[in-house]
Structures are given as C-alpha cells and as structure tokens.
C-alpha cells in the first residue's frame, strides 16, 4: 500500500514535470556517482550484477533497447539501437535485423553484422572457445536460438527453433550488449571497447571508473554529459554522506533504504528521490533431495509459517512487495493478481490458520514444542541475505523448527548450493527482464545452470515452453499464472518478497528515467544533463 502511494507520488511528480515548461538541454558537466563495490569485471556479458551494468552499459549499444522514456519495460516499448529495423518471417522463426551503417567502435573500427554474430555465437555457446568472453551466465536465454547468420555487412538473422515472443525483449536488455569480434576478452573485462555514448577511460579498482563522451556516437547530439565518474565507495554510510554533501550528483541505484530516506531528505533538501521495485526477490532455496525436506509435507510446513508481511515490515518499513514467481502488478507486467496470489501457499493473509495447519503436520510427524526439528539455514554472509534469514529462523520456530544460521562466504556459496550441501538457503534473485522466459528458463527450467535447487518438474518445463511459444499476451499470462501456481504448490522456491528501495539525485540533474520492473536496462546516461 505504502509503495503504491510512493509510486503514485512518483507518477504525479513525473506528470508535473511533464506539464512544466520544457527545458532546453544543456551540454557539459561530469556526472559523479558512488559505486558500492568493485565490479568483478567490465564485461557485461560475463557478469550478473547491477554493479557491472550500471557503470558499463553506457559503453555499449544493443541491437534494440527498452524505450528509455518508458517507466515499464514491455515488449510493446522496444526501440531501435544498432538495428534500424527488424522483421519476422511468416513462420515467426526468423528474426532479421537491418543494421545501422557508419557506426564505429571506440577504437575506430567499423561495426558490422559479423560483430553481432560473433557476440551471440559466444553467449549462446555455439562457439566452443570464444575469444571475447570466457563464461556465459545467460546461455539459457538463448536455448531457443538455432543459428545466427549474416547477409552482407548490415543484415543479420536470428534463426529460432520455434516462435518465441520474448526473444526481442531479451535482446533489449542491458545484459545483451553487442561486443566487437576484434577485441580480446581480457580487454573487454578491463577496458572494454563499445559503440555506446561513452568511452571507457579507466577502471582503477578501489578507486574510480571514468567514462568520457564518445564524440563519434551515432546518435547525433548525444550524450549531453562530458564525462561520468564513479568512485568506488564500499561503505554505505560514506556513500550517503557523500551524496548529502554534494560530492556526488546521484546515489548508486536503489542504495537508499526507507529507514535512511528521511535523513537523506533532511540533509539534502534539493534531493529528488524515487522509490521503485528492483525486481530482486528474496526466496528460499530448498534441498529437496535430502532429509528433512525430501518430505513434501515438511516442505509445505515451510510455506505455512512464512509471514511475508512481517518480512516487509521489518526489512523495508512495509514497502517490499508480496508476489509469486513473477513481479506483481502494477509494476510487473506478468505477475498474478492480488486475489489469486492470496490463494497460494505462503501468501495467505490468515497466518494464524496456516501456521496451525503447519503445526498439525509437524505434530503428526512426531515434532512439537519440546521436540523441534533441528535444521540449518544457509545464506551468504552479507547483510541483505542474512537479515531475511534471521527473520525466517524466527518464523520457523512457530512450526516447531529450530533453525540455526549458517553464514557462508560468498566465494563458496554457489558451489555449496550446487553440491546440495545445505538444507535450506536464503537467496536473492534479480530478474533482468520482466518476462517469464527470462525468469522461468533461468531459475526453474530443469536444464538451467541457475536452477540452483535442481527443481525438476517435466510438467512445468512443458508449460514454460508452451508459454514461451504463445504469441497472444493474454493467453500467455494465463499459462504464466498456472506456472506460478504450480511452483508455489511444489514449494519450488518460496518467495518472501520483492525489494523496493530508493534512488536519489540532485535536482539539477535532469533526464533521469528509472524503470519500475527492472534495474538492469536503462543505464545509457545519454539523456542526462545538468541544469545549472
């Protein structure tokens, strides 16, 4: 409710801004933003974190892009980028792009269709030994891609195994930049070459990331800014103080939690702050191959005790959103309606009733207040993971489960999960594109590397393929909701909430457009400018 109000306020502010007299954009200035950590590398195709996309997306271009002027990423709002136009053949399995001519890489080489082929051959795994990347975490996105072919220097065709409505959406993500064939992966990880509005100057670990305006950018008149400077500031307190003191023009994305917001607004009266969902959800990983959670009844008890509202109150003063596998409406395009959600296990508004059911099951299995089931809750040893894990441990006590926190070093977290060396784990999952294909294929499809729990339901796999091939959005939604329902009933990965956080910027900074159903797709900075 509170978030809905915040969202409404944002819309009103945006409308008010739109109604005010148009300002002429001014060129120049350096945008200063604190970065929360050292990005693991500058190679977007190899990484899966906002820490890489936020600074480096501006170095690259995509074939297509989610319209940066729209608040919601949706298939209806995709605009050309390196591709000038695109079309499907009659079978809807051949997607052909006409490419922009005269575009140059930052090192002066011409951009051609070969670069597009080279990029997708590498990310889809067609090239066994690619030189431009050494790992591809989103290979599963391209499971339906059969081949990429070029026709001359300025036309490229994606050959799909079957029609896939979401394919264009995936290409529009910040995670689908086009790489250059002639640049080695080591360079792409350290000082990447792109065709985007900004050129990379340097990335000094623990110090700074510097980008400068690309004077040869194909979009004439853009970008407005001369440069972007991102200082690496791992301490959140220092980052916030830096913004308050005017050292930075903008906070790192979603870096201002609700408890901090009041202080920021008090200290910096001219700050503009916007609350929005990050499409990063907290969820529980369950090892269903080992006792005690190999027992479906105990898995059900787990969902019986979850009080999503309490999680939201404690973690975000009630702003986090309750949702199933997809981000809920009105922010999410695909999530199921509230009434339907309330009927799913783990989302019931009557917590007392569902906990009583859980207690009854536990008693039947021989557990009780004097003989609780002892388990461990593993999680990464990072506050944003630990905090919900601690709340979960408290809630598990209500159904006679005595859990102990097992903090795991990030370096071995996924190894431990992959080896099934855990009972339950508290996890965070960020979804790059608010589209069922991205989320379901990545996290729930039996063949995915990122399906950490190894959840394997042939029926769900079939439904995932079915919704993916469905061209009609309304029909597709019905299948998506059915999948969400099955995932909840199977206790595949119980969702405990979607994070909502604030991003703030100086009122002199104009042209900032944040999107409400993904944090990964709008970091070009080409429309940002300073009114001073």
């Amino acid at each position: 409710m509170r978030t809905s109000m915040a969202f409404l306020a944002t819309i009103v502010a945006a409308l008010a801004a739109a109604a005010s007299p148009a300002l002429a954009q001014k060129a120049g200035g350096t945008l200063r933003i604190p970065h929360r950590e050292n990005p693991p590398s500058a190679s977007i195709l190899e990484e899966s974190t906002i820490s890489v996309v936020e600074p480096f997306m501006a170095v690259f271009s995509n074939l297509v892009l989610f319209d940066p002027n729209e608040k919601v990423n949706s298939p209806d709002h995709i605009v050309p980028d390196l591709a000038e136009s695109w079309s499907y053949d009659d079978s809807k399995t051949k997607l052909t792009f006409k490419l922009r001519q005269g575009v140059k890489w930052h090192d002066g080489q011409p951009f051609t269709a070969k670069d597009v082929k080279c990029t997708f051959d590498a990310v889809a795994g067609f090239d066994a030994n690619p030189t431009i990347i050494r790992k591809s975490p989103r290979k599963i996105w391209y499971i339906n891609l059969k081949d990429v072919t070029t026709n001359g220097d300025y036309e490229v065709t994606f050959d799909l195994k079957r029609p896939q409505a979401s394919f264009l959406s995936m290409l529009a993500s910040g995670y689908a930049p086009i790489y250059s064939c002639h640049v080695d992966g080591r360079i792409m990880r350290t000082k990447p070459i792109g065709t985007g509005p900004f050129k990379m100057v340097e990335y000094k670990r623990n110090d700074v990331i510097k980008l400068v305006r690309n004077p040869d950018y194909w979009k004439k008149g853009r970008p407005y800014l001369d440069a972007i400077e991102m200082k690496i500031v791992p301490n959140r307190g220092t980052r916030t103080l830096g913004f308050q003191s005017g050292e930075f023009d903008m906070t790192f994305d979603s870096d201002v939690s609700f408890p901090m917001l009041k202080d920021v607004m008090n200290q910096k009266k001219d700050a503009v702050c916007e609350a929005r969902p990050t499409n990063v959800g907290s969820n529980i990983l369950i090892n269903r191959d080992a006792p005690p959670f190999d027992n479906p009844e105990i898995r059900k008890v787990l969902t019986d005790t979850i009080d999503v509202k309490a999680f939201s109150e404690i973690l975000s003063q009630g702003h986090n959103l309750d949702g199933a596998a997809m981000l809920p409406p009105p922010y999410g395009v695909w999530g199921m309606p509230k009434e339907m959600l309330a009927s799913l296990p783990g989302h019931s508004p009557d917590i007392a009733k569902s906990r009583a059911e859980g207690q009854a099951i536990m008693k039947k299995l021989g557990y009780g207040p004097d003989k609780p089931l002892k388990i461990k809750v593993a999680t990464r040893n990072i506050a944003i993971y630990r905090d919900p894990a601690v709340i979960l441990i408290d809630q598990l006590k209500q159904v006679y489960i005595d859990a102990e926190l097992e903090p795991i070093d990030s370096s071995v977290w996924y190894n431990k999960i992959a080896k099934k060396d855990y009972q339950i784990g508290m996890n965070l999952t960020g979804v790059a594109v608010d589209d069922p294909d991205v989320n379901f294929y990545e996290n729930y499809y039996s063949k995915s590397e990122r399906n950490y729990t190894g959840y394997n339901n042939p029926e769900v796999d079939k439904l995932i393929d079915q919704q993916s091939a469905e061209p009609d959005q309304a029909k597709r939604k019905q299948i998506v909701w059915e999948i969400e329902k099955k995932l909840a009933e199977d206790v595949a990965r119980p969702m405990i909430g979607y994070n909502v956080d604030n991003t703030c910027w100086d009122s002199h900074l104009k042209g900032v457009k944040l999107q409400v159903n993904s944090i990964y797709n709008a970091w070009r900075y080409e429309d940002y400018w300073f009114d001073r």
Partner: protein
Amino acid sequence: MGAYLVRRLLLMAVTLIGISILIFIMLRLVPGNIADILVNASGMSDEQDKARIVHELGLDKPLAEQYWQWVDGLAHGDLGYAYVSERPAWEEIAPRIPISAKLAGMAIFFAVLIGVPLGVASAVRQNTGLDYLLRVFSLSGLSFPSFWLGLLVLMASVQWFGKIPIYDSDAHGFFNQVSMLALPAIVVGFRSSALIMRLTRSSMLEVLRQDYVRTARSKGATNASVNYNHALRNALLPVVTVIGIEAAFLVGGLIVTETVFNIPGIARFLVEAILWRDYPIVQNLVMLIAFVVVMVNFLVDMAYMVLDPRIKFAD
C-alpha cells in the same frame, strides 16, 4: 658490529622465505579459489567454464611448480598477473603503496607528535587535573573503534563544513595531499597516540624515580632540563619499540580507515584480494608488508644505539 649486521640480514632473508612458504600454503588452505569466485560472481556453476579459467590461470599445475614460479618471478622482479584485474600485479600494487605510506606516515607522525609530549606532561604532572584529563583522553583513544570514529568525523564534516574528505587521485601538491589525508590520519593515529602516551607516561614515571634524576635535580638542573634531557631520553627506549610495532600493525588500522574514508591504499586492496583469492596480489602484498615489518624492526634495533650509547651489538 659488521658480523652482527650480516647475521641480521641473513636472518631477515630466512624470515622472508619462511613467510613466503607460509602465505602460499595458507592461501591454498582457504576454501574456494578464484575460478569458483569468478564463476560464482556470475551466479552460476558451470564446470566447463570453471575448468577453462583454472587452466588459463595455471592453477591446475602442481603446487610446488606454482610456488617456484612465484618466487622465481619475485627474484627477477616479475610479480605475475593479478587474477581479477588481469593486469601485471606490480602495476596494481605500485600506485597504492605511496597512498598508504603517506597515510601511515602521517598517522605515526600525528601519534608521536601528540603521544610523546602529552605522555611527558601527564607524568610530570602526575595525579593532577591535567593528568586525569589526559588519562581519559588516552583511554578513549584505545576504546573508540576506528570505523565509528571515522564515520563520526565524516558526519561532523558534512554537518559543519558541508563536505567530506573523499579521496581524489587527481589532487596534487603538498597542501592538497595533506588536507585530504589529515582527517583519516588523525583517525588512524588516535589509537596509536593513546598507546604511545600511556607508555611514555609510565616509562617517564619510572625514570623520574631513578637516582640519577634525583642527582641531576640536586645539582641544580632545571625541571625542563631534567625532564627532557635526562629522563625523556631514557624513557623513550620502550616507546620507540612500541612505535615500531605500531607502525607495523598500522596496516590493520588502515583497512577500516581506508574503507570509511574511501582511500585506495594497499590495506583495503589486500582485503579485497583475499576475498577474491587473488593469489598474486595477496602473496606479493603480504611479502611487501612482511619486508616492511622486518625492516622496521631492524631500524628500531639500530635506533636503540642512537638513543642509548651503552647499547652495543656484539660481533
């Protein structure tokens, strides 16, 4: 003296070799390696990708070969490549040394500048109001955690001056550098100054009760002359030892301060390299720190001779 110096230098070499073996083994005993972390950072667990990275970085070679490759490179001035940044390790380490050295130097300078005179004042005015005040000051220095003090200083800076001393690598010139590093140096040096002050005080109190001090007073020497020429010089021996140890331990204090004040020095860099299991960076940095500690110890021993001519190092 000559033979002593040779013995000391040989011992230093043996110590450094021992440390190199220790750090090499300890790093490999820690669970997880860079390949795990690089793949984990992408939120996936692909054994094929991992194997490729392991091979590319030479981590599939026998440990003895890896160790020899490292020390052989070290002996020839080749520190290898950083795993994470994929740049020569020396290029990553070198620019950070002067940053931390300046900060540590300023912190020690501040600690000595504050600690020694206040320690003397506290001792010569024992059990007076000033003494009590200074003892409270020194106790606070020992009890305040650096990160807390650092954040407090930053908040005060925003409140009073409307800005914070965030490190700027483009700031040049003596004045700019000093003004940028002064606050963090004070935060780091505060604890050391408290320790030095307490030690100077107790050491001075002990020396002030010695017979030769009484003799000096009976011969009519002024208070200042007794305190500074006769007592302080002898009281300084344990203080110098502590300053040496503090200088070595300062790296630990720098980790927190470099993080809070966002200074891209070697301490913060080392912590991050450990988290990433970036062996070339960790190994070479630890060796560098070990070398500094060994050298500081050596210089402290040499300083004894200057402070107390009675001390001679036998051949």
